[in-house]
C-alpha cells in the first residue's frame, strides 16, 4: 500500500446548513449558506479557492446536472469545478477528491461541497429510478428501507438472535439518536422519542418501523482544505487533518456470488481496514473518540458497529443496549443525531458527518461536546447492503 495522505491535508474551514424540510431555501441558497460559513471559518476570500468539487446524488430532481450549479451559486470564477456522485457516499467522494488535489500539490485551497434538495419531489423518501435500462428488466424496484431491512433477518439468522431482541437493540439506536438530535440546533428532527413509541411505530419494511428510518432532508455542507503548513500560517497551531480517507465499491459479488450471508456490509469492512492502516490505527475501539456512521436505518448502524470493528461479530446488539455508543458512552456514535435525526440530504451527508467530527475536535460542539476528542471516524455508505459503496474517513488534530 502507498503511504496514503495522512496529515497531508488540513481542514481550515467548514460549513453546514440546518437540515430539514427547507421549504424556504432552494439548492443555491443551501450551497451559499454552507460555503459562507466555511469561508468565514477559514478566514479566506472566495477568490483563494482554486478548485471545487460538488457532491450531488440525484441531479434529476433537484440541483441539476454538472458542477455548473455550484459555480453559478458561489460565483466561482474561472476555476475547475467538478461534480461527483457515488450515491449516498457522494459527500465523502467530494471530500476525497478535494483532499487528493491538495495532497498532490495541484492546488493550495480546495473546496468540497455536498448538497441535496430532496423535498421538491412532492413525497417522502427517495425518488425512484426510471431509466428503463438493462437492470430494470430484472432487478426489484425496492425502496431504500426495503433494501436495508434485509440485513435484519439475515443478521438474526446468522447470530441466532430472536427478532424481538434485535428489534429492541435497533430501537435503542434510534432512541439514542433522537436524544442527540434534540441537542443539535441544526438537526432536522429535534424531539426525543421513547422506546415504546419507536417499537410500536407503523411498519415501513419489515422489521423497520417508522422510527428505524432516517429522515429525508434538504441541506448542504462543505469543507475548505489546504496543506498543514498553510493551515499553520493561517494561525492553526494544531490543525485538523485528514488521517485517512478510503473508499470501497462492491464488484457485485454480494448480489451475484454465493459467499455472502446478507448479515454485514463487506465494503465497509474493506474500507475500514484500509483506513485504519492509512491512519496508523491499531485498536479502533480505543483510538477513535467518536464515530459518525451511516445510520440510514437502525439496522445499518447496528451492523456497521461490527463492520468497523467497534463490536465483535454478533455482539453489537448487546453493546448498543449497554450504552457503549450513547452520547455518554465509551464511544459515542451519531452524537449530532446522525442521518436519523440530523437528516439525510444525500450528497451532503458525508460532509455533515465530517462537520461534526471537525466541530468536536475544535471544541465547538456546544451541548454535545465531548471532554476529549483525539480522532473521529466518518462512515458514509452508498447503495444497498448487497450492492454498496463505502467510504471511511478519519479526522484528527495534528500534534
Amino acid at each position: 500500500m502507498a503511504n496514503g495522505i495522512k496529515d497531508k491535508v488540513a481542514v481550515v474551514g467548514m460549513g453546514c446548513t440546518a437540515f430539514g424540510e427547507r421549504w424556504d431555501k432552494g439548492p443555491d441558497d443551501l450551497m451559499v449558506d454552507a460555503f459562507e460559513e466555511a469561508l468565514a471559518d477559514a478566514g479566506l476570500e472566495r477568490a483563494q479557492i482554486e478548485a471545487a468539487w460538488m457532491g450531488n446524488a440525484l441531479d434529476d430532481i433537484n440541483v441539476g446536472n454538472s458542477a455548473l450549479p455550484l459555480a453559478h451559486a458561489l460565483r466561482l470564477k474561472g476555476i475547475p469545478v467538478s461534480r461527483v456522485e457515488n450515491m449516498c457516499a457522494t459527500g465523502s467522494e467530494a471530500l476525497r477528491a478535494a483532499s487528493y488535489a491538495v495532497a498532490s500539490g495541484a492546488v493550495d485551497f480546495a473546496l468540497a461541497l455536498g448538497v441535496e434538495k430532496l423535498k421538491d419531489t412532492g413525497y417522502g423518501g427517495l425518488p425512484l429510478r426510471t431509466k428503463g435500462l438493462a437492470n430494470d428488466l430484472w432487478m426489484p424496484y425496492g425502496s431504500a428501507p426495503g433494501a436495508f431491512a434485509q440485513l435484519a433477518g439475515a443478521y438474526g439468522a446468522r447470530h441466532g438472535i430472536a427478532s424481538a431482541d434485535l428489534k429492541r437493540a435497533m430501537a435503542h439506536v434510534s432512541w439514542k439518536s433522537h436524544q442527540n438530535g434534540a441537542l443539535n440546533p441544526k438537526a432536522h428532527l429535534r424531539k426525543a422519542v421513547d422506546m415504546e413509541t419507536i417499537l410500536e411505530a407503523p411498519m415501513i419494511a419489515d422489521p423497520l418501523g417508522l422510527f428505524d428510518c432516517c429522515g429525508v432532508s434538504d441541506g448542504a455542507a462543505c469543507a475548505i482544505l489546504t496543506t498543514p503548513d498553510i493551515a499553520r500560517g493561517l494561525g492553526r497551531a494544531n490543525p485538523v487533518t485528514v488521517k485517512a480517507i478510503q473508499l470501497c465499491a462492491s464488484h457485485g459479488w454480494e448480489m451475484q456470488y454465493g459467499a455472502w450471508d446478507g448479515s454485514f456490509v463487506a465494503t465497509t469492512r474493506q474500507a475500514a481496514k484500509r483506513a485504519y492502516a492509512e491512519a496508523g490505527i491499531g485498536n479502533p475501539r480505543a483510538d477513535l473518540s467518536l464515530v459518525e456512521a451511516h445510520d440510514c436505518f437502525s439496522i445499518t448502524e447496528l451492523v456497521t458497529m461490527e463492520d468497523l470493528g467497534l463490536a465483535d461479530d454478533g455482539r453489537a446488539p448487546f453493546e448498543i443496549l449497554d450504552g457503549r455508543f450513547d452520547r455518554d458512552g465509551a464511544q459515542p456514535c451519531q452524537i449530532d443525531g446522525g442521518l436519523k435525526c440530523f437528516g439525510h440530504p444525500v450528497g451532503a451527508s458525508g460532509l455533515r458527518m465530517a462537520y461534526e467530527i471537525y466541530s468536536q475536535l475544535l471544541g465547538r460542539a456546544g451541548e454535545r461536546q465531548r471532554a476529549r476528542v483525539d480522532m473521529g471516524l466518518i462512515h458514509n455508505l452508498g447503495g444497498a447492503p448487497f450492492n454498496s459503496v463505502a467510504a471511511v474517513s478519519i479526522l484528527g488534530r495534528l500534534r
Partner: protein, 481 residues
C-alpha cells in the same frame, strides 16, 4: 359439418399435459354479499381463480407449459385475452421456455375454442407441437361473467407417441353469438341464456360430439371422462341426457372451483381427466365457441403432467375481499398516490440485447464452473481477473432458498406489500429478486422457493409490459372445499 369424412386417423398422440391456476380464489359468496344491494352478480356458489396483478394470459400459459418436456417443433399460444395485439406471444413463449429459436410459432384466438382447435390441428399434423393456452378475461362488476370467469392456463403436447391416442374427432363451424367481445366493447356481451343453452346443446355440441364418437367407434356410454367446455354452467346435464352419456364432466367441476377459464378451460379439464383415467379409458375433449371441436382419445399409459395438473386444482388460497378482487382485475382503479407515478418505459434496444436472457432466466457458467446471473464478460467470481467465456445456464427450474427478505410497504405495488430479497440457487447462482404468491405466511430466511414467470414492469401509458421471474413459495397450501 366438417370431419364427417370417416377415415382412419393417423397415429397421433397427446404426449403430455399441463395446467396452471393462480394462487388466489375469490369466494363468490363474498362478491354476492357486496353486490346484494343491486341484485347483480350471478352465481354465488364456489370460487373463481384470480390472477395476481403480475400475471396475464402469457405468464399463465408459460406456467402451464413448463412441465412439458421435449423439444417441440412448433408452439401455439391460444387466448382470447392476450395482452398484445401486435407482438407474438408464442414467440415470447419460446423464449420463456428457452426453446430453439427455429421453433415455428403461431398465436390463435377468435373464440374460447381456439386451444382445442389448435390441439386438433396439431394432432392432425406431423410436427411435435406444444399448444399453450392462457386466459385472464375482463368483465364488468355486476355482470354474471365477472364471477363465472376464472383465470388460468393449460397446455398439451401433440406428438407421434404419447399417453393418449386420438381415435376420433369432429368439428363444426357455427356463428352462434352467445357472447362476444370486440375492440369497441372489450368486456363480454352475452345473449339470453335460455336461447344459448338450447341452441348450443342441440345444434352445436351434441351433433359434433356424436360425430366424433362415431368416428372413434366408441358409443357415448363408453366415454369414461368428459372434458367438455359447457356453453353455460349446467349445459352438460342436457347434453349427456341427449347423448346417453354418463361420464362425469370434469370441466363442470372446474367451472365451480376455478371458473370458466376460456381458452384454457377444456385443456385444463382434460389434464385432470388424464389423472383420473386408467389405461384403456376413453376421454372426450370438446371445445366450444363459434362452433365446436370434439376429440375422443384413448388413454394408453400414464400421462406426464396429469397428476401435477390435478394437484394445481387442489391448491390455493381463498379470499373474500371483493374490493381487492376488483383492484386485482383492474375494474377498480385505486389512487395509489405519487409513488405509483414512476415511469416504466422499456427500451427496445435493451430488450434486443438482454430480453431473451431475462424472459428465459438464462445466466452463465464461467470457466471455473460458477453460475451467475446476469452474465458478464468478466465473471463476478472473486478470483476472476479477466475475460472468460460463459455457457448459458437456465435458472427457471432450479431450486433455491431465501437469503434475505422484507415486506416493503413504502414501495408501490398494486397488491401490497412489495416482497423482495436475495435468493440463493442450489447451483451457485444468486439473484436479488421480487417475491410473489404471498400466501399469508410471509417469506423468511432459509425458505425454499420456486421460480414463476411474471410481469416485471407494466407501462400503462404506452401499453407495454416486460416479463421476468419471481420467487414464490416452493409449496402452495391446500385449499379446502
Amino acid at each position: 359439418m366438417s370431419g364427417n369424412d370417416v377415415q382412419k386417423v393417423d397415429e397421433r398422440f397427446v404426449a403430455g399435459v399441463g395446467a396452471y391456476a393462480p394462487l388466489l380464489r375469490l369466494e363468490r359468496s363474498a362478491a354476492s354479499r357486496a353486490l346484494k344491494f343491486s341484485g347483480l352478480g350471478g352465481r354465488a356458489g364456489g370460487r373463481r381463480a384470480v390472477a395476481g396483478w403480475d400475471e396475464d394470459a402469457l405468464t399463465m400459459a408459460v406456467e402451464a407449459a413448463r412441465s412439458l418436456t421435449g423439444a417441440p417443433r412448433a408452439v401455439v399460444f391460444a387466448s382470447t385475452s392476450a395482452p398484445f395485439i401486435e407482438r407474438s406471444h408464442a414467440t415470447l413463449l419460446v423464449d420463456a421456455l428457452a426453446l430453439d429459436r427455429e421453433t415455428r410459432t403461431n398465436d390463435v384466438s377468435g373464440s374460447r375454442r381456439c386451444a382445442v382447435s389448435a390441439l386438433l390441428d396439431a394432432l392432425l399434423g406431423a410436427r411435435e407441437t406444444l399448444v399453450a393456452a392462457g386466459e385472464k378475461r375482463s368483465a364488468k362488476p355486476g355482470s354474471p361473467q365477472q364471477l363465472a370467469f376464472g383465470d388460468g392456463g393449460a397446455a398439451a403436447l401433440a406428438s407421434d407417441r404419447g399417453a393418449a391416442r386420438l381415435i376420433g374427432h369432429a368439428s363444426l363451424s357455427h356463428d352462434l353469438v352467445d357472447i362476444y367481445a370486440s375492440r369497441e366493447h372489450p368486456d363480454p356481451y352475452a345473449a339470453e341464456e335460455r336461447f344459448v343453452r338450447e341452441t348450443a346443446v342441440a345444434r352445436v355440441m351434441v351433433p359434433t360430439i356424436e360425430k366424433a364418437c362415431a368416428m372413434a367407434g366408441v358409443g357415448p356410454s363408453k366415454i369414461a371422462f368428459a372434458a367438455v367446455h359447457e356453453p353455460l354452467a349446467g349445459c352438460w346435464r342436457d347434453m349427456a341426457r341427449a347423448m346417453g352419456m354418463t361420464a362425469p364432466n370434469l370441466a363442470s367441476d372446474l367451472t365451480q372451483s376455478l371458473g370458466d377459464l376460456g381458452a384454457a378451460h377444456a385443456l385444463f379439464a382434460f389434464s385432470i381427466a388424464c389423472a383420473k383415467a386408467k389405461p384403456g379409458d376413453h376421454i372426450l375433449l370438446a371445445g366450444f365457441g363459434s362452433g365446436c371441436d370434439a376429440l375422443v382419445l384413448e388413454l394408453i399409459g400414464a400421462m406426464p403432467g396429469a397428476n401435477e395438473a390435478a394437484a394445481m386444482f387442489r391448491s390455493g388460497v381463498a379470499f373474500d375481499d371483493y374490493v381487492r378482487f376488483l383492484s386485482l382485475t383492474g375494474e377498480l382503479d385505486l389512487d395509489w398516490g405519487v409513488r405509483s407515478e414512476f415511469a416504466q418505459k422499456a427500451q427496445a434496444t435493451v430488450l434486443e440485447r438482454y430480453g431473451r436472457d431475462m424472459i428465459g432466466f438464462v445466466g452463465g457458467r464461467d470457466a471455473k464452473g460458477n453460475v451467475q446471473f446476469p452474465k458478464s464478460r468478466v465473471p463476478v467470481r472473486p478470483d476472476a481477473d479477466g475475460l472468460e467465456p460463459m455457457q448459458d445456464v437456465r435458472l427457471a427450474d432450479e431450486t433455491a432458498r431465501i437469503v434475505s427478505a422484507t415486506a416493503d410497504r413504502l414501495n408501490f405495488t398494486p397488491d401490497p406489500p412489495f416482497w423482495f430479497g436475495l435468493v440463493q440457487f442450489d447451483n451457485g447462482a444468486r439473484v436479488m429478486m421480487e417475491f410473489t404468491d404471498f400466501d399469508g405466511k410471509g417469506f423468511c430466511v432459509g425458505d425454499a422457493v420456486r421460480m414463476r414467470l411474471r410481469i416485471k414492469s407494466h407501462d400503462k401509458r404506452r401499453g407495454f409490459r416486460t416479463y421476468f421471474w419471481k420467487a414464490a413459495p416452493a409449496q402452495r397450501p391446500q385449499i379446502e372445499g
